[in-house]
């Protein structure tokens, strides 16, 4: 969705590795490609050794090793060896017991109680304390902080707003009971806070004893954060070459299983080199391999590709309203896009199934609903996608009064010319072909679709237009990259006040369904799942947004590596058991 994957998005990436998949097996099926989540290697493991990890990217990582201050996904992904969360979660992203710290919720008292394990220590040997966990919230909310992650969700913590505005020295809702227990007092409790990425609770700690003397405004540039950071994960940084590489050694104070490797060297690999680097087996593991290179690299037999489905999706949206007062979206019934038959006709005219098959390299899945299968039971796999049916599309338009003119194009039911303006982002030749294909299909059913500014737009222009209240576009192609908390898929972009409701879609039924997802009753997961399914069904019926495809996140693992998994719901971190074999 964005040029920069932010912390939350990155946490999503981290948690993608948890692999909450709709299919209950340990594999993901896409076309005829089978992606495993765990690499099974029966060879005898080597003692120690150096693991070489490559990260394909054309930019240098920023190297801010405090997730709450960082701005790039590369750094967060590379830093997983040292900081991959204190809490354990299940396959649905819900917090469970058994982590380096545990969290429990008392709904009656509106409290979250965090208990830090006795063995949980920083890489300098000092214990991780409740003060360290509270420090995370201070880093985000301090008025001098450069963090971008302060949110409405955080304001549900008592005294957070006052602290953020500089009216209070402390966040009154954070109560340090003792060195190992932190109580968080909320104004209200919501089912979302029991899940990773909800924004209400941070799955992280920062070393207060080490950073307390660093001014908040200068923390992101401090050497303590960039060159010599502390970690509580299995490995700790020995050396960083800014933007290029990181050398990790075992954290001898790690609270989990003793790391098996002597050293891990992570390097950024230019994307143009990745196929050759794999052919020459320069790296043992390639993180975040792209779909573009997979076609070449999947044939390299020294590697096994592991995959998890991403939480977001690619979609087509309709602008059906405007941004009203206070930023609340208001439906504009005069807009032709408010005609359901027109929206459905456009959806039925699209050959998305074929496009996904031809262009997805087997690593995309045709989307049937607005909720990715990555959300496990929250995804409704019974919903039918919009199968291409040009005849049905034509009939829908005929019945709705969109008459065809002599030129083959239809007019609106009120007799006015029908031209829809499509907003799209410039992102490569493949995309141009796909867009041209869809436009031809819409032409076949008599709908004239023109590209905004006659071309796909550069990222910044596209984003500016999408976030504006502009009438320049009626439909747009976009993609979401979402967090692991399931209701985000619905509430983040389709609630009346969301700034991501680019289409300004608001209906009573939709608002009611969205509210139900985080209602008191929704603390019961069964009810929450049911409501989520109802919302998906409703969105399918109304077609305000047409889901197009889901994608996979890939990790290539050398056959000389043992214990590698992308499913972190079974162990503390994905790096816990990684070792080399002969």
């Amino acid at each position: 969705m964005g040029r920069r994957h932010l912390f939350t998005q990155t946490v999503a990436l981290l948690t993608v590795l948890a692999g909450t998949l709709a299919v209950p097996t340990s594999t993901v099926l896409a076309k005829d490609v089978t992606l495993k989540q765990t690499h099974v290697n029966h060879k005898k493991e080597l003692k120690g050794g150096t693991l070489k990890v490559g990260y394909p990217s054309n930019t240098n990582f920023k190297g801010i090793f405090i997730q709450e201050l960082g701005t790039d996904s590369e750094t967060n992904r590379l830093a997983e060896l040292g900081q991959s969360g204190l809490f354990r979660k299940d396959k649905n992203g819900k917090y469970v017991k058994g982590g380096l710290a545990d969290v429990s919720f008392d709904r009656g008292s509106k409290i979250a109680l965090i208990t830090i394990g006795p063995k949980t220590r920083w890489s300098d040997g000092k214990p991780v304390t409740a003060r360290d966990m509270a420090f995370v919230y201070e880093i985000i909310a301090n008025k001098d902080s450069t963090s971008e992650y302060y949110s409405d969700a955080l304001e549900t913590i008592m005294g957070m707003k006052e602290y953020h505005e500089g009216k209070a020295d402390k966040i009154s809702g954070l109560q340090i009971k003792d060195s190992k227990h932190l109580l968080i007092h909320y104004k209200k409790m919501t089912p979302a806070m029991e899940y990773v990425d909800s924004g209400y609770l941070y799955n992280d700690a920062q070393p207060y004893h080490y950073l307390k003397d660093v001014p908040m405004s200068k923390m992101a540039q401090s050497d303590k954060v960039r060159k010599h950071p502390l970690f509580f994960g299995p490995y700790t940084i020995k050396k960083v070459v800014q933007g290029e590489a990181i050398e990790w050694v075992p954290n001898k104070y790690y609270g989990g299983k003793k790391p098996k490797l002597d050293k891990v060297v992570e390097e950024v690999v230019p994307v143009a080199q990745i196929a050759e680097a794999m052919r020459s087996h320069k790296y043992d593991v390639i993180l975040h391999e792209s779909r573009a290179t997979y076609a070449k690299t999947s044939k390299v037999d020294q590697y096994v590709t592991l995959g998890t489905m991403a939480y977001g999706l690619q979609y087509m949206g309709f602008r059906v309203g405007d941004k009203g007062a206070n930023g609340t979206s208001v439906l504009d019934k005069k807009l032709v896009t408010n005609n359901r038959s027109l929206r459905l006709a456009l959806a039925y005219a699209m050959n998305t199934q074929q496009i996904v098959k031809e262009y997805g390299a087997g690593l995309q899945k045709w989307a049937n609903s607005m909720v990715s299968p990555a959300y496990g039971a929250y995804h409704d796999n019974k919903i039918k996608p919009y199968y291409q049916n040009l005849k049905k599309a034509d009939q829908l338009l005929d019945r709705a009064g969109f008459k065809r003119g002599k030129d083959g194009y239809r007019t609106q039911p009120n007799g006015k010319e029908l031209t829809l303006h499509l907003l799209d982002q410039a992102s490569g030749r493949g995309n141009d072909e796909i867009r041209a294909n869809y436009m031809q299909l819409w032409k076949k059913i008599g709908v004239r679709v023109e590209l905004v500014n006659d071309r796909p737009l550069e990222f910044n222009t596209y984003e500016d237009l999408l976030h504006s209240n502009s009438h320049k576009f009626d439909i747009w192609f976009g993609n979401w990259s979402l967090g692991q908390e399931p209701s985000t898929a619905a509430t983040a972009a389709y609630s009346p006040k969301s700034s991501f409701n680019h289409g300004h879609f608001v209906t009573k039924e939709n608002t009611k369904l969205l509210k139900s997802l985080n209602s008191e009753k929704a603390f019961n997961p069964k009810y929450r799942i049911e409501q989520m399914h109802k919302w998906q069904e409703y969105m399918r019926k109304e077609a305000y947004v047409v889901p197009l495809s889901y994608s996979y996140d890939l990790t290539a693992v050398g056959k000389n590596v043992k214990g590698m998994t992308v499913d972190d719901s079974t162990q503390l971190t994905v790096w816990d058991n990684v070792c080399l074999t002969k």
């Binding site: 964005g2 801010i64 949110s151 230019p270 979401w480 983040a492």
Partner: protein
């Protein structure tokens, strides 16, 4: 001459002020800002708006420009939005990498181009000359990124002579080890750039040598019995260097420019990559600082070229 140089330096001041206004306005005219795309469903738009206000994005352009100029005069180029680090130290860290890489490239390039130009000119229309000409045309025509990728594939992966990315190994120890590792990482990109960048120098030198071969002073030298080799190395060479000296100044200041292709292919953290990413991310403070730096360097390069030219050819005087 010193007076003229001083006058040229003083003239640079209004030129730079004008340049800075143009740069600033163009940067602001670009769609988006450093925070575009940062808002995700999990971040608060209010927080991003607060950061925009704090960064002065909504201030009138002249106010933003004034703040920028005042800070710059005090040696503060601002903060990079994407790196969250002072622009000055960010540019300095990249500048070192770029200068060393381009200095090595410049040395290699001139070491290759000058002998080739002289040989081509001396043995005009011979097979050797034709061979050199074909090489320069191919070097000029070949897309640089294709050549660089081929170079990485052959020397980096197949022959494994050189590292394939980065500026230094992460596991290197000691100062000597660090220097050697830096050099090791620079050799391949520098050689590849040098091989492609010879065309202009070879062609200029060749045509100058050919022209000079028939000049009266050469005929006189021959008539006096000066050996052919000495005529070329002592007489023709110096006179033929004039056009090359004319753009040597630009080459020196161009050391800072960086190369987007080579830096991207080798993931070499230099100025080119920094500049490109800053534009893509609308990191205004970095963009404006870099363009101003490049503008200043171009003006200095022009002056340097004139000075070098006057040193090489006493007949030329800066007026």
């Amino acid at each position: 001459m010193w007076k003229i140089i001083l006058r040229r330096v003083l003239l640079m001041i209004p030129e730079l002020v004008l340049l800075s206004i143009v740069i600033f306005l163009i940067a602001k005219l670009m769609p988006g800002d450093p925070f575009t795309g940062m808002i995700t469903p999990q971040t608060s738009p209010a927080q991003i708006e607060a950061l925009r206000v704090k960064a002065g994005v909504y201030d009138p352009w002249y106010l933003q420009y004034w703040h920028w100029i005042v800070r710059m005069v005090h040696g503060d180029l601002g903060m990079s939005y994407q790196f969250k680090t002072p622009v000055g130290s960010l540019i300095l860290s990249r500048m070192g990498n770029t200068i060393w890489l381009h200095l090595l490239t410049l040395i290699l390039s001139y070491s290759l181009a000058i002998p080739l130009g002289l040989i081509a000119g001396r043995y005009e229309n011979s097979r050797l000359d034709k061979g050199i000409m074909i090489y320069t045309f191919v070097a000029y025509a070949i897309p640089s990124f294709v050549f660089y990728l081929l170079g990485v594939w052959l020397f980096g992966y197949k022959l494994r002579w050189f590292p394939t990315s980065g500026s230094v190994s992460v596991d290197v120890t000691g100062t000597l080890g660090y220097i050697l590792s830096r050099l090791d990482h620079m050799i391949l990109p520098a050689c590849l750039m040098a091989v492609l960048s010879v065309t202009a120098v070879v062609q200029y030198l060749r045509s100058e040598v050919i022209d000079n071969k028939n000049q009266d002073y050469v005929k006189t030298a021959r008539a006096k019995g000066v050996p052919e080799k000495t005529i070329f190395t002592h007489h023709i060479f110096r006179n033929s260097l004039l056009p090359i000296a004319a753009f040597l100044g630009y080459s020196i200041t161009g050391l800072l420019g960086g190369s987007i292709f080579i830096e991207q292919i080798f993931n070499y953290p230099g100025m080119g990559l920094l500049f490109m990413n800053s534009i893509l991310n609308r990191d205004y403070s970095v963009i404006t600082a870099l363009v101003l730096l490049y503008g200043t360097m171009t003006l200095i390069g022009s002056l340097l070229s004139d000075i070098i030219l006057s040193l090489v050819d006493p007949r030329v005087r800066i007026e």
